[in-house]
């Protein structure tokens, strides 16, 4: 088991190296840079900058250096000083910006994952063991709604509903009176109240997916011979279900743990924007629009790293759950 983990960690190094190159290139791909974006913005507001002024800015930001040199400096700073660079747009170190948002992003994604599992797995089990029953159809219907409805739309509708019926504004992370207040019990409660809606909405589509996956997997497993063996042994249905087929059916779901972060960035950006939650998603969107390259590159880099680590964690979890993975494949 330890050898397996060590082997997997070693293989991470070249992957992360490739990710860093790809992140950097992706950020560099659109034409122009931060300076051209700035000049454009100034022109919009009626100020024309001369060519020499533009060149001066380019030199000042280090954008005149060739691509590989900038990449090496970025990597060097990252590896040896833990410094991700400077955000032109915010005029602050990228590290500070991310330190404010990554913990919240992680907390929301992990909490929404756990929430959706806590709801979806029992429902999936029920649906599979009561296939084609009334409740199976009802859960299937709800699951498809969760799958098919865009999260930002649900966010808008629910935020409006909550505000008009209760007068409580679920937007942001804190009510206005707590934003700058020191941490207190009331502030925590206020934050938790604000988190319910985003957790629900972000978890909604993955709940739908997980119900479907769990139901389908379990239906396959229930037909397997080992389930019949266990039943013939005289095990009670509940014990049998939880020990044998459910343990098998849950594996594919565990293996998707690594995908939640990229999902959060792509799909949930809109939810975060609508509910004005300061996760990394909206930050990345703004950074890309403004060609704030070190900020955008760093976010892509960090989220990719977390994804890779998440995948590693899910693989380790799978190995712990399934001896066939632990012992390096099926022997014939």
């Amino acid at each position: 088991m330890l050898a397996y983990i060590a082997r997997r960690i070693v293989t991470l190094i070249p992957i992360l190296f490739l990710i860093s190159i790809v992140s950097f290139i992706v950020i560099e791909l659109p034409p122009g840079d931060w300076v051209t974006f700035q000049i454009e913005s100034l022109r919009m507001s009626g100020i024309e900058l001369g060519q020499d002024e533009a060149d001066r800015l380019t030199r000042q930001y280090g954008l005149d250096k060739p691509l590989h040199e900038r990449y090496l400096r970025w990597i060097e700073n990252m590896l040896f000083y833990g410094n991700l660079g400077w955000s032109f747009q915010w005029n602050r170190p990228v590290n500070d910006l991310l330190a404010e948002r990554i913990p919240l992003t992680m907390a929301i994604s992990i909490a929404s994952l756990l929430l959706s599992w806590a709801i979806a797995i029992p429902i999936g089990i029920y649906s599979a063991t009561h296939q084609y029953s009334v409740w199976d159809y009802i859960f299937t219907f709800i699951g498809f709604i969760g799958l098919a409805t865009p999260g930002f739309l649900v966010a808008l509708v629910l935020a409006w509903l909550i505000f008009t019926t209760t007068g409580f504004s679920p937007l942001g992370l804190f009510s206005t009176q707590y934003v700058d207040a020191p941490w207190s019990w009331e502030k925590l409660v206020d934050m938790l109240k604000h988190l319910v809606l985003p957790l629900f909405i972000i978890g909604l589509s993955s709940t739908g997916t997980t119900i479907r996956v769990m139901r389908a997997n379990l239906l396959d497993e229930l037909k397997k011979q080992y389930v019949i063996t266990a039943r013939a042994k005289g095990l009670s249905e509940t014990k049998l279900l939880l020990k044998y087929p459910v343990r098998m059916a849950i594996n594919p779901i565990v293996s998707t743990v690594g995908w939640i972060l990229p999902g959060l960035v792509s799909g949930e950006v809109l939810v975060s924007i609508v509910l004005s939650i300061q996760t990394t998603g909206p930050l990345l969107l703004r950074a890309v629009l403004a060609q704030d390259m070190y900020l955008a590159g760093s976010i892509v880099m960090i989220l990719s790293t977390l994804t890779v680590i998440g995948t590693l964690l899910s693989d380790i979890l799978l190995a712990a759950l399934d001896p066939r993975i632990r012992y390096g494949g099926v022997k014939k």
Partner: protein, 341 residues
Amino acid sequence: MTTTPTNDKLIEVRDLRTYFYLYEGVVKAVDGVSFEIRQGRSLGVIGESGCGKSVTAQSIMRIAPEPPAKHVGGEILLHLGRDGNGEVVDMLKLDPHGDRIRALRWKEIAMIFQEPMTSFSPLFTIGNQIGEAIQLHLPGLSKKQVRERTIDLLGRVGIPQPKRLIDAYPHQLSGGMRQRAMIAMALSCNPRLLIADEPTTALDVTIEAQILELIATLQQEFNMALMYISHDLAVVSEMSDEIMVMYLGSVMEQAETGEIFNNPLHPYTQALWRSIPRIEGGQDRLVPISGTLPSPYNLPKGCPFYTRCEHRMPGICDAARPPMIEVSPNHKVSCFLYKQE
């Protein structure tokens, strides 16, 4: 212990009817099957694929999937107690998920399945899965005693280094070893009846011979009755005191092994016998049974074998089911060619 022929009955199946209610229609998988097995005796059940032999076995343990399966008629009487004077339970009257039937499963009747590859869950060691059965039916044993019993069982079924392999996962064992482990699990609670549902079909021939010998030896050692299901005539004749021939959910003929081989009465049994090679049989060509099985959704009204029978009598055989008649003691056949003596 005194046993007289009247009170050593272990299980009596009377007119069992297990139907499957599917979208496409009703499949009468088992349609009026009757037989009995006495303590310590062995019954071989033979028939083509889909003739209902496995469903009969599953019905006895009530592990046929309900729904779609439904036991629409009959009785499965299990005589409890070694002296035959104990309580009689009708397995079909019990709740298939209830405590009563769960206590009877594996303790009274255990089963070995066809697929050793999938009979164990891949996630737990074989020791865990065998020990689970022991703990369930023999409560009061300590963990250590359960483990010792498991190691002892694994040794008795011929698994080498049982102390080490008790902690092996199923995928670490070969098919033959897994089937041995399955047999160990089946014997773990000293069942009185062992049902073996084609236990060697998935194994190669040399392993098959070993497993058959093992089952035969252990049947004596554990003093169990055996219900041996197979489509392989040679195997069934070797394993059984009595043989029951099934076709499309019905029993065609039933007799002691020697009798049915020397004096097959039913045209289907005769056809089956002609379709197997014999070492002393000379150079005759094998004769396959002509035709194919009728659709299971639409069985013939009379004798199920009518469509393929060489001796069919139109107007008689396709009009009504031939009753089961006893032509000589313990030799029963369901065919209009024969008359009750």
